[in-house]
């Protein structure tokens, strides 16, 4: 089961004693604020987690993998995420399910 906004809000309610409305709003605002920064070209670094970076891609030739038809891929700006050292180390320690 994936973690969702509702799970985050529940935790804020349980651990910090925010009321349910405040908790829900905090979670919404948290992600909205990051989106708003990225939207205006600002990269976002959350220490202890990672960095949301922006990259401008120039246009390049592409192909429809189904039909083989050539279609140009337009220039665009994309978001990438680079996990921080701490998160990388913690995830590396995860051995997997088998």
């Amino acid at each position: 089961m994936a973690l969702t906004k509702a799970d985050f809000a529940e935790k804020l309610f349980e651990e910090l004693g925010l009321n349910k409305r405040e908790a829900k709003e905090m979670v919404e605002l948290f992600f909205e604020e990051i989106k708003a920064a990225l939207e205006t070209g600002e990269q976002v670094k959350i220490s202890g987690f990672g960095k949301f970076e922006l990259r401008d891609k120039s246009s390049r030739p592409g192909r429809n993998p189904k039909t083989g038809e050539e279609i140009p891929i337009t220039a665009r700006r994309v978001v990438t995420f680079r996990a921080g050292q701490k998160l990388k180390a913690r995830v590396e320690a995860y051995a997997g399910t088998q």
Binding site: A2, T4, D7, L18, L29, F31, V79, A83, L87
Partner: protein
Amino acid sequence: MTKSELIEALAKQQPYLALKDVELAVKCLVEQMNQALSSGERIEIRGFGSFSLHLRAPRIGRNPKTGETVALSKKYVPHFKPGKELRDRVDALREKHDIAD
């Protein structure tokens, strides 16, 4: 934008919460995300994106200094896939804003 700038921005929008509480809330959110990913759990935020783990297969590596070969076991790395709303919004204003830290 840094974490402390994010905390300030959030505090401005929630005047009824003390800065300290906003700080704790952000800390709690970050810890939850770290916790989920390091136990192999996915995170799905509608409109923002999803975080999951990608498997890196075991491989024979090489110490670039000594040339010695080293066996590297399989490992997981965090991966983020931006959601449609985030992708669209970031791309829509690219001509108006340069990329900045």
